[in-house]
């Protein structure tokens, strides 16, 4: 693997990690809100949050482009303040974050829904305010699902292609991630290099999922019966 390949791998990991970190707090908050929300519009809200899962990623990319293009209101405002998003690494983070968000929310929401609400109520009678009850009871009981969702989101971010290529382009050394590089090399007929990069993505995804499994197993052994 050459220096160029290493750069692509490092860049991809950096982008995926940044995107995952960016969605962690809002994703967990959204999941917690949805798990407890019983009011009107619940179905609509869940559908909208899950939409990126089923839409073609290129359609999501197009929507982002419409939002952030230099001659669009948001994009123009950002440009006026010196923030350039489209075709930069920021666009890579944004596209992967949007695509990964629903995976985190779904997984974390299920975990929160499985926490017995009566235990949270008991924590309240024992003197915990809502925030303390969240951090001392809800989160410790739901952390496995939240962690699983985070790794899932990170893995998805590693492989994001469609939305990224729409808003960030495929600029070697600037916005090219592993998924984009595989496509790029194949286009140029360098199948061997493409296969090498593909193998790296397999190794990364495997490592991430295996690490989670291991963490969860280890914890459940010390906690369990």
């Amino acid at each position: 693997m050459g220096a160029g390949d290493l750069q692509v791998v490092a860049f991809t990991l950096q982008m995926a990690a940044t995107a995952t970190a960016a969605i962690l707090v809002p994703g967990v908050a959204a999941a917690f809100f949805l798990a407890g929300y019983r009011g009107p519009g619940r179905g609509a809200l869940e559908t909208i949050l899950s939409l990126p899962l089923v839409l073609p990623p290129t359609a999501v990319g197009l929507a982002l482009l419409e939002l952030l293009g230099r001659n669009r209101p948001v994009g123009a405002w950002l440009a006026a303040h010196g923030v350039e998003v489209v075709f930069t690494w920021k666009a890579v983070v944004l596209a992967t974050a949007v695509m990964s968000f629903p995976l985190l929310v779904r997984s974390a929401r299920t975990a929160f829904e499985e926490v017995d609400p009566r235990l949270v109520g008991l924590a309240r009678t024992l003197g915990c305010g809502p925030a303390a009850a969240f951090f001392r009871v809800t989160m410790p009981l739901a952390w496995r699902g939240v962690l699983a969702g985070t790794v899932l989101a990170f893995s998805r971010a590693l492989g994001e292609f469609g939305a990224t290529i729409m808003v960030a382009g495929n600029i070697p050394g600037r916005t090219q991630t592993l998924a984009l590089a595989i496509f790029h090399e194949t286009q140029l007929g360098r199948d061997e290099r493409a296969a090498g990069l593909a193998a790296v993505t397999v190794a990364l995804a495997f490592a991430a999922l295996w690490l989670t499994e291991w963490l969860v197993r280890r914890r459940s052994r010390t906690e369990g019966a």
């Binding site: 235990l119 924590a123 009678t125 024992l126 003197g127 915990c128 410790p140 369990g224 019966a225």
Partner: protein, 356 residues
């Protein structure tokens, strides 16, 4: 005694509205009533876990007073709550659970651990505890927060009979050592008699009756709720223990002398209630001799009631005019030739009598 806990709450429930007005004296108040009568909802309303309206005050201090815009959140009510299934936090050790609500208050934590004698369990995880141990830990966890009021939601219901009798003494100990006003939801007449000095009977979200337990337990409202099989409840006190003979002698208020299995933990003079199932009473038409049963009484048959497949006999005992119910089969009635007004002899094994 003036009311220590004042409750006047309204809460809409799916099938009816909870509408409870009750003033509870110091000590333990038992709350009884059929399943779905709103007993748990009442406790949750007092604890602040349900958005009830109205007024709840403990010792004159309002926890909820909708009219004045007071509604303390649960964490500021200082109300200890022990649910039926104990509700221990599975991710914490026993000590972590007990300390959960009172991290800085070592005195209260230590006192709660000692009262419930759970020190050997402190490092264990809740999942590894027996049902009785869990309930003791849940009680300790609630006590460690120094609550002003204790709410117990059927704390013994999840336990089998044998375990119940082993946990009950801890409850009595909490009642006697911590002197807390306590609301105790139960389906079990024996438990209510054993722990409570006041009784509230609920039905469909309302208070159907309230007052002194022994007076209320005869009421028809409660007869239906009486635990199946404990038809004979007789208040009395311990007279003496016979260690060699393995029996404890009890005299009932009606003047009946009864021998029960040795219960040395209750010194002479201790008030107790005897519970005897009607089907555990043997019926004879002549004086009982040559039988192992320690308790035999002469009496007169008052009435024969058909109850389902069986027959319930209502008998008046010659000693002190106490009444006792016996349940036998119609075949036994026929072969003994029992007639109302005729003489009967009743016998009860010591082992068939529960001491409450």
């Amino acid at each position: 005694m003036s009311g220590v806990v004042e409750i006047d709450v309204t809460l809409p429930l799916p099938r009816f509205a909870l509408r409870v007005e009750a003033t509870l004296p110091a000590g333990v108040t038992a709350v009884m009533g059929p399943s779905g009568a709103g007993k748990t909802s009442l406790l949750e309303s007092v604890a602040g876990l349900r958005g009830a309206t109205g007024r709840v005050a403990v010792g004159g201090e309002p926890l909820l007073d909708t009219a004045r815009g007071v509604s303390l959140p649960p964490e500021r009510r200082r109300v200890g709550y022990v649910p039926q299934d104990s509700g221990l936090f599975p991710h914490l050790s026993v000590l972590g659970n007990v300390r959960f609500g009172a991290r800085a208050d070592h005195g209260a934590v230590e006192a709660a651990i000692d009262t419930l004698e759970i020190r050997p369990l402190l490092d264990r995880r809740p999942l590894t505890l027996s049902g009785g141990e869990r309930q003791r830990v849940a009680l300790a966890r609630a006590l460690a927060t120094r609550p002003r009021l204790l709410l117990l939601d059927e704390p013994l219901a999840a336990l089998d009979v044998r375990l119940r009798e082993r946990v009950l003494p801890w409850l009595l100990r909490v009642r006697d050592e911590w002197a807390l006003p306590c609301v105790y939801v139960t389906h079990n007449v024996g438990e209510a008699l054993a722990v409570a000095s006041h009784l509230v009977v609920m039905r469909e979200g309302r208070v159907e009756a309230a007052g002194e337990p022994r007076a209320l337990l005869g009421a028809p409202a409660l007869a239906a709720e009486a635990e199946a099989g404990i038809e004979n409840l007789m208040p009395g006190h311990v007279v003496s223990h016979d260690d060699a003979g393995g029996i404890t002698r009890v005299r009932t208020e009606a003047g009946l002398d009864v021998a029960v299995t040795l219960s040395a933990a209750r010194p002479p003079g201790t008030p107790v209630t005897l519970a005897i199932r009607a089907e555990d009473v043997l019926v004879a038409t002549g004086p009982v001799t040559g039988l192992s049963a320690r308790n035999a009484y002469a009496g007169r048959l008052l009435a024969i009631d058909r109850t389902g497949v069986d027959v319930t006999l209502r008998c008046a005992l010659d000693a002190g005019g106490a009444e006792m119910l016996a349940r036998i089969t119609p075949a036994a009635v026929a072969s003994l030739g029992l007639r109302p007004g005729g003489p009967v002899w009743l016998a009860v094994k010591s082992h068939s009598i529960r001491l409450l």
